[in-house]
Symmetry: D2
Subunit: 301 residues, 4 copies
Amino acid sequence: MQLSPEQIAEIDTQRNHPQTTLRATVPGMETHLYKVHEVLDHGFIRIIDYMGDDAAICQAARVSYGKGTKSVQNDEGLIRYLMRHWHSTPFEMCEIKLHVKLPVFVARQWIRHRTANVNEYSARYSILDREFYIPEPEALAAQSVVNNQGRGTTLEGVEAARVLEILKADSNRSYDHYEEMISDDGQSGLARELARMNLPANIYTQWYWKVDLHNLFHFLRLRADNHAQYEIRVYADMICKLVKDWVPAAYGAFEDYRLGGATMSGKALKCVRRMLKGEDVTQETSGMSKGEWREFKEIIG
Amino acid sequence: MQLSPEQIAEIDTQRNHPQTTLRATVPGMETHLYKVHEVLDHGFIRIIDYMGDDAAICQAARVSYGKGTKSVQNDEGLIRYLMRHWHSTPFEMCEIKLHVKLPVFVARQWIRHRTANVNEYSARYSILDREFYIPEPEALAAQSVVNNQGRGTTLEGVEAARVLEILKADSNRSYDHYEEMISDDGQSGLARELARMNLPANIYTQWYWKVDLHNLFHFLRLRADNHAQYEIRVYADMICKLVKDWVPAAYGAFEDYRLGGATMSGKALKCVRRMLKGEDVTQETSGMSKGEWREFKEIIG
Amino acid sequence: MQLSPEQIAEIDTQRNHPQTTLRATVPGMETHLYKVHEVLDHGFIRIIDYMGDDAAICQAARVSYGKGTKSVQNDEGLIRYLMRHWHSTPFEMCEIKLHVKLPVFVARQWIRHRTANVNEYSARYSILDREFYIPEPEALAAQSVVNNQGRGTTLEGVEAARVLEILKADSNRSYDHYEEMISDDGQSGLARELARMNLPANIYTQWYWKVDLHNLFHFLRLRADNHAQYEIRVYADMICKLVKDWVPAAYGAFEDYRLGGATMSGKALKCVRRMLKGEDVTQETSGMSKGEWREFKEIIG
Amino acid sequence: MQLSPEQIAEIDTQRNHPQTTLRATVPGMETHLYKVHEVLDHGFIRIIDYMGDDAAICQAARVSYGKGTKSVQNDEGLIRYLMRHWHSTPFEMCEIKLHVKLPVFVARQWIRHRTANVNEYSARYSILDREFYIPEPEALAAQSVVNNQGRGTTLEGVEAARVLEILKADSNRSYDHYEEMISDDGQSGLARELARMNLPANIYTQWYWKVDLHNLFHFLRLRADNHAQYEIRVYADMICKLVKDWVPAAYGAFEDYRLGGATMSGKALKCVRRMLKGEDVTQETSGMSKGEWREFKEIIG
């Protein structure tokens, strides 16, 4: 991930003009603003703006005239209560705006989270850069044989090398042809909106993405999860770190109740109760399918 | 609209703690923050927070590393272009959070705008105040005889007086009974969630309301319109004033293309073309219904 | 709940014109269509239309050309898998449209579920009927002393009688005054949009409400819950019965994983694991607050 | 666009099982159900289900017990009124579900319309087919020199041939490599979620897409427009034809007020009024920018 001198200058200009505000302000987030947090080989996450803090969640929950807070400890208790009882609207009172650079196939998963605002770099209007995601060798995994949509073991030497070779060569050839087609050197030059169709899904795109904290937590719960594809999970993991600096109490509650928690079915709860009474419960006597039982055993460790 | 000394103190506390930020900041909005902007007899609008400014709209539209702006004039041209061509996503990059106090029947219209975040004062949990909307005599209008959902002429002396008398007496009696029912003085006290059902729709409620600029403009177009009920229109008008101080270029474009503009049907456009060629077009030869023709004539003056 | 002869005739007309369709059709739902399912004293739920069935969920999940189903058993397994792993989009492929009559204070809670389509009876345009919700004596509960937003014990004789007396008298007086104000007998008649403000929150309103199955399940999880106010819970309970006849496999999965299930925090899971190993865990050694511990004990029975 | 015998059999099975329903049914739509409507070289649109008809729009607008309609003519007038005055909720009471096959770069534009339900064919789980969009020579246009995001003149012989050659060769090579990488013949086989990143944006994907009529009209207004990219416009045009057979009155109103209509700014309306009074207005005296003036002249013919 290399920024051009112009881009670095643009970022510096923004960081060098502090202003005075009466709005809720989080010093921890101010240090992150506009900076590049690198993800994958050419991607990044930059925080462009944020609204609200932990206190703003409580302020809205209490519909207060002022800060709506009595003490930090008191606020944390309320936030944990709200999270535990699935109160979503107070968390919607915080908002964050990110600038993200990411491969197109990651963007296609990301955009499925509809309750957010997006402005993507337009390949109808502008020319895309020659930047493609080429995985690290450790990230080259075989198709899983137990989970139909997941990854299995890491590819070994020759096969890994061949895959990387293909990805690099095809990316570059596609881009060479993209450039050839749009070139107006001695020809008309194909429309950009058409030429882009030759570019593969590992090319990088960029967007501004704005979302409220409730919907961001929903995104993170699904995408910072082990079942999520590695290439989107690294973005979710990075956002988790940044959110922790923004709303530490809300993030703590999220971590405990969502990321670290688990939902048990009525059947599973019955089994827990029987087991706590000393009964030896097996898959056969649990009423659960094999898949559910396997997942249940993982949860209760 | 009377704030208690505690409420005034809470607001003052918030206004007396300026902080330093790198975020987009609008001096004109900072002067409004937290202050009470009175609407109707007991209602108000308070700006609690805002995200973005005119430049942030352009920054997102251009997916920029920095401010994304070349000049203020240049930005205004882009904003007008975006508004004219119904580009909604750049306007979604600005967000505003309001604290609103409003009669319940106004709240019921307002909430129909779904793309917003709301935390309302809970009458299950808390006790509502004795505050009811009693219209000014000038606002007491008869049912319109031309428009089925609108108002006609203002009510005259005796009838107006009787209406006001009824509204005041019923409001107070309802609230007396509300208090009696929830009182735990020598009795158990009815649950608040039940007792509130006795309160009429002119009682005031409060909420925190957060919305992006695109959806706010949509709200304002419908609610700052002549066809909107007066009691919600005064809130919309007040918000218009505040938005003008927040994002003057975007508001200017909104005023020209939405508030001050009009949509013409294909039939209407054909008529305009015929009329510009000197033809004398009548309702009969226009292809429009009487209602459409009346509205068309109003538009072309 | 009394329908007028005209309303009965309208319903009969619709039920007497079966047509032929190639769309997914559920015989169990056809028997419910348009009929009145009574809720509270004057309310109801009527099914106006539905789209999809259990098979349609699988068909979409598999992006099939045909029914997309191999066997009913196979479909049920897939549906349970989708529910367990929080796949929401296949459930969004089913849609239901209801006509609901409900007290205004229930409507105000209901409308907070934003991801639905609503057309409400307009009190700006039309005159509301003289129909008010008056609770059964058993539903008259005192304010809870343990749960700030809930109900406690049922009110006793004299107090209950007095409350009912107040509600009935105030409802009728308000409606009498509403009629007086809008009357154009010898006067202009106050605009309906103004007169309605005198009506209390226990008056009935009506709306058409259309929602997809995923969002309906979300609504039902929150509103068919013990913590929901009784007056909205009876509507949710009735909808549960109807949905069970519509998509039995999806409803079964919902009942097991959502209604009958529970979410455990990371802390709670650790306690379960310790307890299953024979350790005696108390609130003090659990790391949970008193409130969390109480809820945890309820879950594990 | 070639369906396999299995796919044809699946479609036939669905079309051969008519059932009886009491729901609103549209004979014109029944003839379309499940059939393939071809778009581009390998794409299609298939109607999977629909809810409601023209009468259902009026029924909801009137919150009726029965059909809510007095006469077809009466309904059409109401529908035109609702469309003219931007009443969106009655149109939301109709819903349609489509199965669409489309190139990925078209899907990426389409998905930006967020208020819809989508289930896309999963390339993490399944293997994509070797089907790529290769434009007809007439569709190969040069980058526009007046409109930065549009197309200009059609490419001529040699250049067109070379572009087609590149697109075909690169598509096939990418797919050959995709197959090589995922093959488990003598190797582990790269995970599908990784291998897909080598595939270009002209590969076809498929999804189930469900949307209400209001949001569909919004989609069609933007995508059946001259400024939309040709490859998505042909899908929008096809949907327009199908919607016309579904809700002819609503489509008629949409065609007149949205597709065939235009929004004029306050400035533009002032010009029209001056011109109708005989004044000779030029860009200089109009108060509009050059771009606005050019668009204005197009509108008034």
